[in-house]
């Protein structure tokens, strides 16, 4: 029997958490953090995503054409899991980019931390927050 979607969910989440922990502590080991959260974990999640799509896409209901089709798509547990893994992988890539960009532009990590937390929980809001922080940091007389 292939592993159940629930079991895979239980594995994928702690793996992603590990990556976010590394990002939170990224000033301690920036290069290692980028290797783990910017490459290794997203690649592992991408393999899982690819396998789920290969295995389940052709038999899934719904599609991309309308909101109700997308909702129908997510009624299939393995496809919903694939969607979740997609969030985990791409949110982490954005998190790694934030850590990298902040380090390059000497933005205080204390200010970056809430952006990482927002990216972890609500992806695009974290991106919005960090972009704002970045714009403000560039301004002459900025606190950061």
């Amino acid at each position: 029997m292939p592993p159940a979607p629930d079991a895979l969910f239980q594995i994928a989440n702690p793996v992603a958490l590990l990556g976010w922990l590394a990002l939170a502590l990224s000033p301690l080991a920036p290069r290692l953090t980028q290797m783990v959260a910017g490459l290794a974990i997203p690649l592992a999640l991408a393999v899982l995503y690819a396998a789920l799509i290969l295995a389940h896409w052709s038999t899934a209901p719904g599609g991309f054409g309308s909101l109700s089709q997308v909702m129908a798509l997510f009624t299939s547990p393995p496809v919903a899991l694939a969607g979740w893994v997609h969030y985990l992988a791409f949110d982490m890539l954005v998190g790694a980019w934030i850590a990298r960009t902040a380090a390059r532009e000497s933005i205080s990590h204390l200010l970056v931390l809430p952006c990482l937390a927002l990216t972890f929980l609500f992806g695009p809001i974290g991106f919005l927050a960090f972009s704002t922080l970045r714009a403000l940091s560039r301004h002459p007389g900025a606190v950061a």
Binding site: M1, P2, P3, L8, V47, L48, A50, A51, L52, L54, A55, H56, W57, S58, T59, P78
Partner: protein
């Protein structure tokens, strides 16, 4: 590429001699990772086997084929590297990509690739795949002829002979066996009562299986040069050449013997 060339990397030679074949060969190897994950996650079966087993086998087989050709490419004359050869290489790569995408798509849909006559589209795709299969096999014929013409390989004569004979035999024997296999409508000759198989290779242990001869025919490009390598190390030049000719005849007899055995409805073992 520059990185690969700057260190003593065995791949750098392959990149240099046959960039297209090396590129696609390594791409097919990389694709084994998601395909293996799909094999683990997908519970669907097709004709008694997991649906992703066939794409995996074809990826392994075609990457071995491409990387073997990339290794042998160094023995082609330098004059064989102009535009015409690059266009031919591009056609081979397109044929192989078509083959793996077709087999992978059929697996994703849980249906047959070869012998699929369920709709006009699948019939058309199977016909195109047949043309693609002959095309991709012709890469070994073309390389065999080109190596045969090259008088400056620096190889012992027996090894040189075995190299191009193996490549040409791969084409000739595979086209004979696979053409018959395709016309047969299924790889089995006879009804298999339980479906017992040889491990990994999956050949029937109960009835004739034409894939045995297909497998051996396609591996002539390994078997004959291996015999040539042994002969050129162990024997004086004259006898080594005779040994290569004998090995080629013997290997062809083995292929045709297993072919006849399968056609008679008998399993290999």
């Amino acid at each position: 590429m520059t990185i690969a060339l700057s260190r003593p990397d065995p791949l750098s030679r392959l990149w240099h001699d046959a960039p297209g074949y090396t590129w696609l060969g390594l791409l097919l190897v990389a694709a084994l990772v998601p395909l293996t994950a799909a094999l683990i996650l997908d519970g669907r079966m097709f004709q008694g086997d997991p649906v992703w087993q066939k794409p995996l086998k074809f990826h392994v087989a075609l990457s071995v084929y491409l990387l073997t050709l990339a290794v042998y490419a160094r023995f082609m004359p330098d004059a064989m590297r102009p535009r015409r050869w690059r266009i031919f290489g591009g056609v081979i790569i397109a044929a192989i990509l078509f083959e793996v995408l077709w087999i992978g798509a059929a697996a994703a849909l849980g249906t047959a690739s070869h012998f699929n006559e369920s709709s006009v589209v699948w019939i058309a795709l199977y016909a195109m795949a047949g043309i693609g299969a002959v095309t991709l096999t012709s890469a070994s014929l073309a390389m065999g002829i080109s190596i045969a013409r090259n008088r400056e390989t620096g190889l012992p004569p027996a090894l040189h002979l075995s190299l191009w004979l193996g490549l040409v035999l791969t084409f000739v024997l595979t086209v004979i066996v696979a053409g018959t296999l395709s016309a047969n409508g299924t790889h089995l000759v006879g009804m298999a009562p339980t479906g017992a198989q040889v491990p990994i290779l999956g050949w029937s242990r109960e009835v004739g299986d034409l894939r045995v001869a297909h497998f051996l025919a396609t591996h002539a490009l390994h078997a004959v040069p291996l015999a040539g390598l042994a002969a050129s190390r162990l024997l004086p030049a004259r006898q080594a050449t005779l040994a290569v000719i004998a090995a080629s005849l013997g290997y062809s007899a083995l292929v045709l013997g297993t072919f006849a055995q399968a056609l008679a409805g008998q399993p290999l073992i």
